[in-house]
């Protein structure tokens, strides 16, 4: 009986605790909820991204005094890259610290879940280089932003890069290109673009799916051995990347003909393969290493000059840098909104306006410490992507270095596809695309 009473009391206490969870704060900072994954099969990639974002938000508070004097607050929630837990996290965080104003889902699956919620909750989504590509059409997706560039743009940039390596786009004819992709919404993203471009340039595309989490790829690489492709694109994430690079090395595929998406090109992906990974390439939309002014500032303000401690927090790694760029663009969107609405805490709707009118030029990038580190970005009402160019980086066994100039995507092919996909989404979900000429 006593045992049962204890159970009963425990249950009641538990339910009461769940009910009491979301707490509201009195003072209002600018709140960025952080959906991160520091555990689970995707943790090796989740940790550096999260650290980069965290460090830049903290740097904004310490170096720049917040966003024009408004303190930036962050709170992390562990998603394990699991869509359900991610949505639970979002629901838990969105009411805290005076309300979330901008969410970076950091997972394509979670982004898909949040896109319909964004206009209702008035929390804009910045899915930087991931998520639903069609969201680049701002007329159908007013609350979702995926600048500086999307998967489809990147896929077209890859084809352009391969074309230039082969000595001209006309030489693509008859070439065999294999795509090894994560069997999920994320991995399937590039397929329509690559198929469309295959029709134009006459290369032969083979798409090979790898199921979550991607540790088992023997069958896939057996197929590749039989196929003997000229180029391989890798659209993986987490442990799948490491395995794919090791498998490619095992079949002695020439590494410099093996190109990963920007989520398949971090230190964690190549180091396990050792020397065999030398020559492996990947896309990116910012520079490499701890070379920018912002890195010096972080070292000084956050780590007190302790480079060892900073390295433990992935300082200067590819995904850490991407976290920095992502956080910087979010904070800049708040500042853009403040220029219109005044220097106070911005609401979600105001941050949305800031994102849509974001215009970060070379000068501003230099002021923020990102001079020459990434490209200027200009977002418009129609175009939430910015159609940004892509760089190719290469692993030399110890570090990444850039091996290409900025490659422009094939916009005349990609943009109509985006508009078509957005129109299909609008039709299915009863959305009337807004008229951008009426926006201010």
């Amino acid at each position: 009986m006593k045992k049962l009473t204890t159970y009963g009391l425990g249950l009641v206490a538990g339910l009461a605790a769940i009910a009491a969870t979301p707490a509201a704060y009195a003072d209002d900072p600018q709140f960025f909820p952080m959906l991160v994954y520091r555990t689970g099969p995707y943790a090796p990639n989740g940790i550096p991204s999260a650290n980069g974002m965290r460090d830049f938000y903290m740097l904004s508070n310490k170096r720049d005094g917040g966003a024009n004097g408004v303190e930036i607050a962050v709170e992390e929630c562990e998603t394990e890259y699991n869509t359900k837990i991610g949505v639970e996290c979002y629901e838990r965080l969105k009411g805290k610290h005076g309300g979330a104003t901008l969410v970076n889902p950091y997972s394509t699956g979670i982004t898909y879940q949040l896109i319909p919620k964004a206009p209702v909750d008035e929390v804009p989504i910045l899915s930087m280089g991931y998520g639903q590509t069609a969201a680049a059409d701002g007329r159908v997706f007013p609350w979702t932003f995926n600048f500086p560039t999307t998967y489809w743009s990147q896929a077209s940039a890859f084809i352009r890069y391969v074309g230039s390596e082969e000595g001209g786009m006309e030489n693509l004819k008859g070439k065999k290109i294999a795509l090894v992709y994560h069997n999920s919404a994320y991995g399937k993203e590039p397929i329509p673009t690559l198929e469309k471009l295959a029709g134009i340039h006459g290369y032969e595309l083979t798409s090979l799916a790898v199921d979550h989490p991607g540790q088992e790829q023997k069958a896939t690489w057996l197929q590749i051995r039989r196929l003997r492709p000229d180029w391989i694109f890798l659209w993986g994430w987490g442990v799948m990347n490491q395995v794919a690079i090791q498998e490619a090395a095992a079949i002695r595929f020439p590494m410099d003909h093996f190109i990963g998406v920007w989520w398949s090109g971090s230190e964690n992906d190549v180091i396990p393969a050792g020397d065999a990974a030398k020559g492996y390439k990947a896309g990116t939309f910012h520079s490499v290493g701890a070379t920018a002014q912002v890195h010096e500032d972080i070292l000084e303000h956050i780590y007190g000059g302790d480079l060892e401690e900073a390295k433990k927090n992935n300082f200067g790694e590819v995904l850490y840098n991407r976290g920095l760029v992502n956080a910087m663009l979010g904070v800049e969107a708040v500042r853009t909104a403040q220029a219109k609405y005044g220097n106070r805490r911005m609401t979600g709707a105001e941050v949305r306006w800031g994102l849509e009118n974001l215009d970060v030029g070379e000068e501003r990038l230099a002021e923020l410490g990102f001079g020459d580190f990434t490209r200027p970005i200009k977002v418009t009402c129609e175009d939430h992507e910015g159609s940004g160019p892509v760089l190719i980086q290469q692993w030399d066994g110890e570090k990444w270095s850039l091996v290409s100039d900025w490659i422009e995507p094939i916009r005349e092919v990609v943009r109509p596809m985006i508009e078509e996909a957005a129109a299909a989404f609008a039709a299915e979900n009863n959305i009337t695309p807004r008229d951008c000429s009426a926006e201010s």
Partner: protein, 358 residues
């Protein structure tokens, strides 16, 4: 003293065969339903409804479905999530093909489709039993998940393979899609779960349920006294899959909003199986208790350290949560292998003698 049926006389067959023969039980269940229907929506906030109670209700329904098959008919299944996926994908197909179709009709049609698929995958149960049957249903899990990923017809040929529930109304109120309030979705889930629970309760205490239990307890003896194993087992598969299909449809329409086939992965099958085992095999109450344990406890463990004032790195917190959760499962199974429902039964027996136990 308070929980005692002395003095409650049954004067008709109807009263004797009532679903809840003891008056106190009727009041307790009535009060619970009233609280869920009236009190909870008025005090619970959106987080509580959306992230805690709606998944709890939907997974309870899936657990009831599996409990009918595994707990009552004795057929072990690892394909629950696959049958839920059939429900989810068919709900999407029905509602996009016929936008005017009533949402409740969509749920029922999805359940019927899942029942059909369940029938097909139930055929091996005539020849194989126990663990071998579990492996056969595991094939259903992998095959169906693969199908929903591979055949673009199921996700209307969109590029990402994700199904998104379009906005839908039910009796003039937004019921699905982003503009539907958490309260509305909670109400729909609750009503469907209550109705289907009453149906299940009457199934298991009637002829059908008794034939299932006879097959479960000893199939040869059941066959000798006149139950046809083929029809009985297939019926169990069909009805169980119907419940799972409806749960899967609600999982998409009322909870997730958009999903890819990964949402109905093998992990979900195991989760529902754990609910049934921890809650209690062969008990409808156990399905609810098990779902509460599996859904609510991790959320409570995630929130507990912050409420208690501890601020630790979230990865450490997550690891502690996983360890505590795993430990609790093992502890419960050692303390009460027959599940939480059995604990409740013991409590009721003790309550009868309270406060003068002998």
């Amino acid at each position: 003293m308070i929980y005692r049926e002395a003095g409650q006389f049954k004067t008709s067959y109807g009263a004797d065969q009532a679903m809840l023969p003891i008056a106190q039980d009727r009041w307790a269940v009535g009060a619970a339903v009233a609280v869920m229907l009236i009190v909870v929506p008025s005090i619970a906030n959106e987080y509580m409804l959306q992230a805690v109670l709606i998944p709890f209700l939907i997974l309870s329904l899936a657990a009831i479905g599996l409990n009918l098959l595994t707990g009552y008919a004795g057929q072990l299944s690892l394909g629950t999530a696959a049958f839920m996926a059939v429900g989810g994908y068919m709900a999407y197909k029905f509602t996009t093909a016929f936008p005017g179709l009533n949402l409740l009709v969509v749920f029922i049609l999805s359940g019927v489709c899942a029942a059909g698929v369940g029938l097909v995958f139930g055929i091996p149960s005539l020849r194989i039993k126990g663990f071998y049957l579990a492996v056969a249903t595991l094939a259903a899990q992998f095959f169906l998940n693969w199908t929903f990923n591979k055949v673009p017809w199921f996700y209307n040929y969109n590029s990402s393979g994700t199904i998104t529930m379009p906005p839908r109304e039910l009796f003039g109120v937004m019921a699905a899609g982003p503009e539907a309030t958490a309260e509305t979705r909670y109400f729909i889930a609750l009503v469907v779960v209550i109705v289907l629970t009453v149906v299940a309760k009457n199934l298991v205490r009637g002829r059908v349920g008794r034939s299932w239990m006879a097959i479960r307890d000893m199939d040869i003896a059941a066959e000798i006294i006149g139950f046809r194993p083929y029809q009985t087992k297939l019926l169990a598969f069909a009805i169980s899959s119907f419940y799972c299909g409806v749960a899967g449809a609600m999982y998409l329409c009322l909870y997730l909003g958009s999903a890819e086939s990964e949402a109905y992965s093998i992990d979900l099958s195991f989760e529902v199986l754990f609910m049934v085992i921890i809650g209690g095999l062969g008990s409808l109450l156990g399905s609810f208790l098990g779902a509460a344990f599996i859904v609510l406890l991790p959320i409570f463990l995630t929130n507990a350290p912050q409420l208690a004032g501890f601020h630790m790195p979230i990865d450490v917190q997550k690891h502690i949560e996983l360890m505590v959760f795993g430990g609790l499962i093992v502890w419960f199974l050692i303390v009460e292998p027959r599940g939480l429902a059995r604990l409740w039964q013991i409590a009721k027996e003790k309550l009868r003698r309270w406060p003068f136990p002998y």
